[in-house]
């Protein structure tokens, strides 16, 4: 098991380096530099800026000095936000995005799993059909539709929440709901399809034959198997949720990390782009690994496969 874990981590290293390298050269291939502003700066200033940040060196030199800094965990200064280093920005903004993401993840899991299982248990009745149609609706309401609608109803009409901002704990409710809905809908679908696929298995019939109640069969026997697709979906979902969402953070004016994914690329803020890409890729790699380990915890067959 531990050997499997270490092997996977080691396998991830070249992937990570490949991603970092590809993005490093891609951003520099894009026309326009980090200091192109609406008001053009004088050539002397530009030269001084480029010199100060080491952008006048050859691409190769820049790449190796970037790798050297990276190995010390330093991502360098942001070109857009003078005086701030990328490390500082990431640390500050990631905290907000993490809080929002964790709330959203918990909501998505709670809503998704209960709706999914309920619609599987009741799949023969009208309620089950309605539930699964409802979860499909969650996929069709993108966050930039759902967010404004929630604000319109709950903040502007009912005055139950603040429309924007990130100050009081109650400010987290609407954005995390908005962020969670899509993932909740996916989880519900995966859980439902997983559970329905299991109902025709032999062990389910055996459990019924032994006199187990419907609730017991679903919660004790089926749940553990039906949850597996959800667990493998959790890896990418968690990475996407925890690194923040541009749309939700923009709509609700939340000072999180998600906005930097977009703004850094638009501003050609090279160091910031690298920071965002690295944090996202690292999250994907880590959470995929975590969800694989969870999968092994749920399914002993996978666990024995891993320890080989």
């Amino acid at each position: 098991m531990i050997r499997y874990f270490i092997r996977r981590l080691l396998e991830a290293v070249p992937v990570f380096i490949a991603i970092v390298t590809a993005v490093f050269f891609m951003v520099r291939f894009v026309p326009g530099g980090p200091f192109d502003r609406e008001r053009p700066v004088s050539p002397e200033t530009l030269e001084a800026l480029n010199k100060y940040y080491g952008l006048d060196k050859s691409l190769c030199e820049q790449y190796f000095s970037f790798l050297k800094n990276l190995s010390r965990g330093e991502l360098g200064p942001s070109y857009k936000y003078g005086g701030w280093s990328v490390n500082e920005i990431l640390a500050e903004k990631a905290a907000v995005s993490l809080q929002l993401g964790i709330c959203a993840l918990l909501i998505a899991l709670a809503l998704g799993l209960s709706a999914g299982f309920a619609s599987a248990v009741l799949s023969k009745s009208k309620i089950g059909g309605a539930l699964s149609g409802f979860s499909l609706l969650g996929i069709c309401l993108p966050s930039f539709v759902l967010g404004p609608l929630l604000i319109l109803v709950f903040a502007l009409k009912l005055n139950a929440f603040n429309a924007m901002g990130w100050n009081a704990p109650s400010d987290a409710v609407l954005p995390s709901l908005t962020l969670a809905m899509f993932y909740a809908a996916w989880i519900a679908r995966l859980a439902r399809n997983g559970a329905i696929a299991e109902t025709s298995r032999g062990y389910v019939r055996t459990a019924y034959a032994k006199g187990a109640s419907r609730g017991r069969v679903y919660l004790v026997h089926i749940a553990r198997n039906a949850i597996q697709p959800v667990v493998s979906y959790l890896g990418p979902a968690a990475a996407a949720l925890l690194t923040g969402s541009f749309v939700v953070e923009t709509i609700f004016q939340i000072p999180g990390l998600g906005r930097f994914f977009i703004s850094s690329a638009l501003d050609s803020d090279y160091t910031m782009i690298m920071g965002c890409v690295m944090i996202y890729s690292a999250f994907i790699i880590i959470f995929n690994l975590v969800s694989d380990l969870l999968l092994a915890a749920v399914n002993p067959r996978i666990a024995s496969e891993m320890s080989k």
Binding site: I19, F144, A265, I285
Partner: protein
């Protein structure tokens, strides 16, 4: 050529049968066909041109003159929804085409090659999967300038990964079947086997994946429009309409509600059909 037509035809006809069986799914399909037809006839059907401004009528509520109201510049929302639908559907279909083209050929080659090449090609897919795609798309847009054609290609270039995985899986499965072995024994070339024996038999999964790619492509286009990287104003797309609507929702909720309604309904219909198709495969 005969085999090709037959197995692909089976996939299509069983798909059609499945759509027509369930009432809701049938209604979804009818809605989609109708809205695609109406949106593509927008120049004839729309009551106003999409960019005709009437500042005196800015943010007017729905009325007989403007069924869905007007936006901040006095443009008719209904007309803009029709024209926007044209763009959103066009992006949805064409970008899915691009994604299919890349994904199917990549998956076929990877599955057919097998061994080391297959492992390497799939590792590449995994790597691209773990890139934050928004940054990737934005960089593409910045590198090549904004044009509607680039939107198709950029979205297609992001969305082909799932297709590649599915086609590769199907290829691996089909490769070990007897009819492929027979074709090998008969001395058919690899290309021939790939195109005439494996591809038509993978039509089912490809169809399902394509059907589910259309809504996610439309969503991605709307997201790009939300970022301001989509179609150029004053040309509307559903994404940019929703974005404008969200900005003015306090004073003019109809600017948000009507485009959002049609967009969500379309996504729902597409997903529902995709689901029915994948159900028919089992």
């Amino acid at each position: 050529m005969k085999t090709w037509c037959k197995s692909a035809e089976t996939a299509f006809s069983s798909a059609l049968r499945n759509i027509s069986r369930d009432k809701t799914t049938f209604a979804c399909a009818a809605f989609l066909v109708l809205s695609v037809a109406i949106c593509f006839c927008a120049p004839v059907l729309a009551p106003y041109p999409y960019d005709e401004q009437n500042l005196a009528m800015g943010c007017a509520a729905p009325s007989a003159e403007h069924l869905f109201g007007t936006d901040m510049l006095g443009r008719d929302i209904l007309s803009r929804i029709l024209y926007g639908g044209r763009i959103s559907f066009a992006v949805g279909l064409l970008a899915t085409g691009v994604a299919m083209l890349i994904g199917v050929s990549y998956g076929l080659v990877s599955g057919m090659a097998g061994g080391r090449i297959d492992a390497l090609m799939m590792r590449f897919v995994d790597t691209v999967y773990s890139l934050p795609f928004t940054i990737f798309v934005i960089l593409l847009m910045l590198a090549f300038g904004r044009s509607i054609w680039l939107i198709f290609v950029a979205i297609g270039a992001v969305e082909w990964l799932t297709m590649a995985r599915i086609v590769r899986g199907a290829t691996l499965d089909l490769k070990s079947r007897q009819f492929v072995e027979a074709a090998v024994a008969l001395g058919q070339s690899k290309t021939n086997i790939m195109l005439r024996h494996i591809l038509p038999n993978a039509a089912g999964p490809i169809l399902v994946c394509a059907a589910l790619t259309v809504p996610s492509v439309m969503l991605l286009e709307a997201f790009l429009s939300f970022l301001g990287l989509g179609v150029q104003a004053p040309l509307p797309s559903w994404g940019s309409l929703v974005k404008d609507g969200a900005e003015y929702m306090e004073d003019a909720p109809w600017m948000l509600v009507f485009p959002a309604f049609f967009f969500s309904l379309t996504l729902y219909a597409l997903n529902r059909i995709g689901e029915a198709l994948s159900g028919s495969l089992k």
